[in-house]
Symmetry: C2
Subunit: 339 residues, 2 copies
Amino acid sequence: MAKVSIKEVAKQARVSAATVSRALSTPKLVNDKTLTRVLKAVKDTGYKPNRFGASLRTQKSGNVVVVMPDITNQVNAGIIRAIENEAMQAGYSVLLGDTQNIEARESHYGDMVTSGQADGILVFTPRIPFPVDENRQAFHDLPPLVNSCEEIPDDNINKVLIDNKAGAMAAVNHLISLGHKRIAAIKGPSFTPSTESRLVGYKEALNDAGIVIDDRYIITGDYGTDSGVVAMEKLLRLKNRPTAVFCFSDDMAIGAMNTLREYDFKIPEDISIMGFDDISYAKLMSPTLTTIKQPLEDIGRESMRMLLALMKGEQTTCKSITLPFELVIRQSTGPVPTS
Amino acid sequence: MAKVSIKEVAKQARVSAATVSRALSTPKLVNDKTLTRVLKAVKDTGYKPNRFGASLRTQKSGNVVVVMPDITNQVNAGIIRAIENEAMQAGYSVLLGDTQNIEARESHYGDMVTSGQADGILVFTPRIPFPVDENRQAFHDLPPLVNSCEEIPDDNINKVLIDNKAGAMAAVNHLISLGHKRIAAIKGPSFTPSTESRLVGYKEALNDAGIVIDDRYIITGDYGTDSGVVAMEKLLRLKNRPTAVFCFSDDMAIGAMNTLREYDFKIPEDISIMGFDDISYAKLMSPTLTTIKQPLEDIGRESMRMLLALMKGEQTTCKSITLPFELVIRQSTGPVPTS
DNA sequence: ATACTAAATGAAAACGATTTCATGAGTTGT
DNA sequence: ACAACTCATGAAATCGTTTTCATTTAGTAT
């Protein structure tokens, strides 16, 4: 049942440990007859190679770390799944780090890659989770690292992003095209670059349409449903209520819709609501939620593929790829009310 | 930046590798003056202990594996978070396995614990993910293992469960108390023990109330939203439509509600809907969803704690703990329609 | 001063794999 | 029959820790 090492197998098969190792990792190097003998011994003894022994020697762990701020978030969960599919196909295991935006946790997971416990790292938080040499010159002065979704402000880092600014502009332009002029925003926390980009897009779209920006229309949430509830309550208290609200996440939009329902506002007749993400529940809401779709699966897949390329040494230049978003129009947005 | 081993530190600090090791793991064994010298050297060199070396020697990995069928599921995501919090506090890292009910994947992650890459395993699927000696006698003939949520039919396994049968009975009894007699069920896949238990509870509650069970009222889904949509469509086609539907997951309930909305049924005036889980979106639906609340955080925490106790050798008997559920009454259920 | 204990340290032996290097056994070509 | 191969294999070094065991040094009791 328990601890059977390569030597036991070697003894059983009447060969050396070296041959057993070869039989398992490079079978072409060993004679057919001995190979079958070894394989039988492996089976008989129930031998499982100890990964630590191997890793110690090869300096490869077969692990990748994924650092995420919040796995309970639907957006991230979808990404994780794609990552894991891709990693598994390539023979890697995923060490998942849910950091809840706590720096100590980020470091904990970051250390795994600096200490050799993982061969690469996928970073979905806006910080590199380990100390770096600040006068480094290029991306290969770091361990294999890919930064996704929340952009780290550093040009020497590989990235997989969506164009948050353009996404926000598409959202706001959609509202403008419906005749809205009083367009509020429920944004995310300022420390997330995605929020900052979307905010820029929001403002630029308004500017382009000649609408003056009113700071009272910009409320900060935390991307979660509850903060959407609170933010919407604030907006309802304004003298000049907005006729449309662009929420920087579907979750906040769902919270906002809840508040509107509670106070008997009709969506979209009284107030239009837009989300961002297109989580699976967006199309199941009542009304269904108009939103900007993020290609979650693509983000996960491309991030992992880039990391794999880095780990294999196939990618020699620093890359940043931007994936397309999509405006998904559903029921929660409509023409500006006439009254 | 890179590979600095304990020897380098030793040289810098003018001590032996042994002392460095002691300084880091059992500082009380080393003289104060040398300790500070070593610590300085550690800092100067940027030394990070290589986990493989240590693990190889100590036979402890500091990892636990969590095998889950679907991390995109809100229920599971909440559990994972609690697990990770608890694991981290105890100094363990979590290797997350999203198996999507594929046996090969389960084995992949199961092997991690048999091969020593992890010290224990949390199993949320209804199978042990590695080959076992079938004539084993007790739970300690396995590596540290805790089975949660989906019960593995084996008495010699540690478990953390909720009482699915009683939960289902509570749900159905709630509907019965509202006067419903034609109560349908949208269940999960038959290979999940949770579904089977809930089905037993559903039937028993009906029996107890003297309501005869009609198989046409029992539809099988896959716990996901889409299957709730399809299942509800089937129910609507019945000549004698049910007046209430008990869905074995909130996701399926949300799908079912969507179908009802599409065909202009009023919830709960025409048809009452019940869910199971109490995911965060349940209270944000319109109408808000009546459901059976699973204590997700408790499940995660208790599972991990049990595993920790097993790994430390503190738990010497096979345990099964059952956590309480809670009936959460919201808007989606109401009195049976009179017409 | 002598013997004895306690504290601090180092040398060296693990842990379990992989891989280099050397060697022996067969082939083939001359 | 001998050189020059290839193929299959084993011995041994190696990866980076931890930990046992022995040794040194200092301190204490006699």
